[in-house]
């Protein structure tokens, strides 16, 4: 299996642990990732409020590069906003003759052209539908031992396009977590918005969402996410009283996969998670929840220990 890899800007910056763990986990699963040469920013959610055309031209540039340099490969995007922006080009530009011509006229300025042949895939889609849960289970050397994890999907991988999971009741990440030996906790915050860039422009508003999500995650050993902005919003304000004083590690799904696959540093970069203090890090390394006293938590877990 081989994909054209689009890391996106965040994964080269404050979310390097996501990039590093994606590459390590994919390599462990025998998946080859080839970076799209010369890729640039997709515009995130900042292009749309500034320029209608730029909103399509920025992601289209990257698809055009993939089409030209890595023909036949689907693009794999781990970041939610990157995934949606790239997918949006295929859904809204391709098939709209006028808009497609305008986007290609813009791309023509740098000698590029996008015909519309590149598939856009999210990492959860690839994990569940291309790789499958059985190969993931086979790769496990040290399962998560009943770690209680809340799966946080966020918004843009599920909406507005219903591609690989039900946006109302998503299950794909819960299934991967179960395959890793974790215990996904039921909650109704998995597809709630974390506030996204509202955390920068109007933090007092986004803080309500963050506080509600963190509050609902009480009792979890960790929250798993697949979006760099969700991860940042949920962990960066845990010290802020406005966020409700809830402390819980916010980990990328691929970091948890790396741990279950027996990959050690520097493949999972747990030190880069601001929500991890020394005891949480030790708990994750030693699988602390395996030794919890009977009566606390799940009965079946207590029997296993």
């Amino acid at each position: 299996m081989k994909y054209a890899y689009y890391p996106g800007c965040s994964l080269q910056e404050s979310a390097r642990e996501f990039d590093v763990s994606v590459r390590a986990v994919m390599a462990a699963l025998g998946v080859e990732l080839v970076d799209i040469p010369d890729w640039t920013c997709c515009g995130a959610s900042a292009a749309e409020p500034v320029s209608a055309l730029m909103n399509y031209a920025l992601p289209a540039r990257n698809l055009a590069l993939a089409e030209q340099e890595l023909p036949g490969l689907d693009v794999l995007a781990p970041c939610s906003a990157c995934y949606l922006n790239l997918l949006k080009v295929n859904r809204e530009v391709v098939g709209n003759k006028d808009l497609h011509a305008r986007v290609n006229e813009a791309l023509g300025a740098s000698g590029l052209n996008y015909r519309g042949t590149v598939g856009v895939r999210h990492i959860l889609d690839v994990l569940v539908n291309d790789i499958g849960l059985d190969p993931i289970k086979e790769r496990i050397v040290n399962d998560l031992g009943g770690m209680r994890v809340s799966a946080y999907y966020g918004c843009q991988i599920l909406r507005p396009y219903e591609v690989f999971d039900d946006p109302r009741h998503p299950v794909s990440m819960d299934n991967v977590l179960s395959a890793l030996g974790a215990k996904p906790l039921p909650w109704d915050m998995g597809n709630k918005c974390c506030g996204a860039s509202l955390m920068v422009t109007h933090p007092e508003v986004a803080m309500h969402s963050v506080a509600a999500i963190l509050g609902a995650a009480d009792g979890s050993d960790a929250v798993a996410t697949v979006c760099p902005l969700c991860q940042m919003n949920l962990e960066a304000y845990q010290h802020d009283s406005a966020a409700g004083g809830h402390h819980v590690p916010i980990l990328y799904l691929t970091q948890l996969m790396g741990l279950a696959f027996g990959l050690e540093e520097p493949s999972v970069l747990l030190d880069k998670n601001m929500s991890m203090d020394g005891s949480m890090r030790a708990g994750i390394r030693s699988r602390a929840w395996r030794h919890e006293a009977p009566g606390e938590g799940d009965e079946t877990l207590a029997r296993e220990t």
């Binding site: 800007c9 515009g43 409020p49 500034v50 813009a106 960066a236």
Partner: protein, 188 residues
Amino acid sequence: MNQTQAHAWSPDAVTREILEELRGEIGACMQCGTCTASCPNGFAMDITPRQMWRMVQFGMLDRILESKTFWMCSSCYMCTLRCPRGLKLTRAMGALKRLARQRGTWKIRKNSAFYDAFMENVEKYGRVQETSLMPGYFLKSRDPLLPLHYLPLGVRMMRAGKLHPPSSAQKGRLKELFAKVREMEEES
């Protein structure tokens, strides 16, 4: 154009064009209010999303531009997912932000400061460089206290090794694309 005299202001061609496009997109809104009920940020809006679509249908430009409703949209697409008429409401919120930017008052510039700083960063570096994005945003927001708000987070990010000096690997890579799009959008 005298910005202090709101009543003397008449919308320019680009503004009218965006408003017309919006009215086309929102025309089928039947005012059921599902969007308002779905919005996670509705509590912070001065006009509900449902009311906003009515104002778009009526072309109430001044009232629309006075509102902060669309600046509170975090692009979560819940309203778009649930709209029984299948209207692209999140996209319409984006168009409203562009509509307001055409007006260019101080209040609006402050609200769009982050998006503007973000796009300038993309234009300059090709890929967003977080450590230069935030100072760019502070400058545009013209709020001297804003950097202080981010100081504790900046320190924690630095400790976790999350801050990196700007990379110039893709610097200037998008110059031609930005210039071309600017030219095309000025023409239309």
